[in-house]
Amino acid sequence: MLIGGVAGGLLLTGCQPGKGEEVKTTASDDKHYGRTDKEKQRDERVMAESFFSEHELATIAVLCDLILPATATAGAATEAGVPEFIEFIAKDLTSHQTPLRGGLMWLDNRALYAFEHTFSACTEVQQKELLDEIAYPDEADPEVAQGVAFFTRMRNLVLTGYYTTRMGIDDLGYKGNTPNVWDGVPEDVLAKHGLAYDEAWLAKCVDQDKRNIVAEWDEEGNLLT
């Protein structure tokens, strides 16, 4: 009766074989990312809110794909769900709210005076013209410093939102977060950098063929196995 629904023990599942023996890890659960009860409640509350208007979201989407358009091998920021991420993060880290909302309005205002349309209704050429004056902090006119600050924030959020998705990580080429057996820098990379492992140092390093053999030492602390 006391035995609650705590999930089962070490569910060992074989993963990619490495040196020695296969690498063991445990089962994961796609529905959870390790939240506490309080955090779950907070997530639910934040998810239920909405912050940006449809017009604001449409403008964010345009900005997303100007910042990271699709390439021959990778999708655009909107395809990676970046506008949805920006909507969430503005609700989650509320210090983003006023700078983003105000910045979008600043940009629309700038567009209205320049082209008599809001930013999202401008042509791509016009949009790029507007971005060119705020996208390069070191070259921008001090007159548009507020626009520079807004665009810097937007660019940061678009990039962070993109590179934290499967699409972005594949484009970046990050190869980790998977069970493996680290056995040093690949030889060709060492060669390219003109580096080599020192033999005396390597003697102190793990022999990955013996990683699954239980460690035993002599009385002096010398590893025997």
Binding site: K40, T160, C205, L223
Partner: protein, 650 residues
Amino acid sequence: MGEEQRAKGHGAWSMEHGAWGMGHGHGAKGEGHGAIGNISVYFLLTIHYSLINHPSSHHSITPSLHNYFSILRVTTEIMQIKKSSKVYDVIIVGSGAGGGMATKVLSEAGLNVAVVEAGPFFDPADPEQKTQMKWPWESPRRGAGTTRPFGDFDSAYGGWEIEGQPYTRMPGTRFEWFRSQMLGGRTNHWGRISLRFGPIDFKHRSHDGLGEDWPISYNDVKPYYDRVDKLIGVFGSKENLPNEPDGFFLPAPKPRLHELYFIEGAKKVGVPVIPGRLSMLTKRINEERGVCFYCGQCSRACSVYADFSSGTCLIFPAQKAGGQIDLFVNAMVREVLTDHEGKATGVSYINKEDRQEYQLNGKIVVLAASACSSARILLNSKSKQHPAGLGNSSGLVGKYLHDSTGASRAAFIPALMNRETYNEDGVGGMHIYTPWWLDNKKLDFPRGYHLEMWGGMGMPSYGFGFNPNDLNKYLGERIGGYGDQLRKDVKKFYGSVVGISGRGECIAREDNYCEIDPNVVDEFGVPVLRFNYTWTDHERYQARHMHNTFEEILDAMGGKILGDKPGQDQDYGLALPGQIIHEVGTTRMGNDPKKSVTNSFEQLHDANNVFVVDGGPFVSQADKNPTWTILALAWRTSDYIVEQIKKRNI
């Protein structure tokens, strides 16, 4: 890295918090007991004991007495203190490194143990609690530190501020206090840097006239360090350095690419580098725990138990071995209860779930709530026999609080641009490190520091891609922009920034302390801590020296050093007190009851059945991370407790 390790901020160069090793909720699961409301309480308690004493898997242990007490409350419907008739041999307060070790050793000696933990049960193998191997998109905030200061996947439930549990500071002073309330405490996310204190560290006053010597020497602790190494596992290498004792090491992982650059750079400027010493299993140590699979995510706690966390490596095995262990979770200890002779009789705690007050009886109380939390409990345990708080006849409980010093710097290494990507996650921390290598007699500050280094192609999380091409200024290329160029720049700079952190010794001073704030209580009505902590030029000049070292090494690596060297107005870049999360010293040990709170066996001078096995009894911090010494001393104290019981001295 210290436990603070992962705090690299969310700036341009922060990769995944945990990737460099820099960086809830289940309590008692049983519900619906109301159905048995009419059965007598005594009967319920009897059933309960038989269940929780059963040496079943650790997953089933979580339910606690509160469930039964809750029924009692429903029946009586008045607020009253819930008392149990059971008498434990030992009550252990806290389940981190010290509490976990005491739980293991004392339960294995056959004692009947209660472990009282302020937070919920935690098992990193539980799919609902596991964060290891999660991708950034599995968090809607992509791992941002909105609710957890080291990011969404960090396994510490708590942080610098905990809602409803404030602490205060004396005007003009700073202290940052990191708490993690969960089974295993901060051991679930710490940096795993596992260093022995050396012979000089225990007797530093004899060497430089500052601070105080410990009442014990390295030789007293060595056998326990040896046992801890073998029980828990730590990789490293035999180096025969005078104040960096070797141990029973597992073999080290090979250095990563940026670490090879560091070794080369350091060599050029005469700074030695050796393999890191961290408690991850690069090699099997028993059949119960897994072997490291190099995800680099130790800050998330390991689901195959291949790194050291107190729950997975001490408490669960103790339960599995059939120990008589009752685990109370979400139970915040208010005070240690004492009798008319001033001896402890148990503890009172608040069940966070029903906000009711409970009492447990114990013949011995072992405090392991963390240096500051244990001091708070002692100071709040006032009685006729202990008017200034339990153990505080010297007035020193809370005094001599000290944290490690810290400073950090980073550089852009042009030779690491446009890297070929491959998996270099490695262990969740540095594969190499630099122990203190200089002679303070020739320097303008008295104590040493060690170096930790970080970098690499970590997993992106919130903050990755910020200011993506600011480094173009070193290449004379354009900063900012939009479009395809941004992708090229992100890839160009990925893995090209490295950093170094210094972690040093601060000399303990009586005027750095925590005490009870006379005006403030937490949400449970318990008086909170007020901190008073300042740095001196000892620490400031040490930080200045750290930055000089960082610059020399980073420059020798061919790096473009980022940011300006912090000046006097910024304490030379010295981290705020508490930020390194190595706070110790609040119940320091000594032979003279007027100058110390505990004796050399971490036993209160004022009550011989109360012990403190966290960082509190440390006399000095050393330039080493404290956990391995907490573990060794907790084992030594636990052996002493068993021996004293046998001799009928307690």
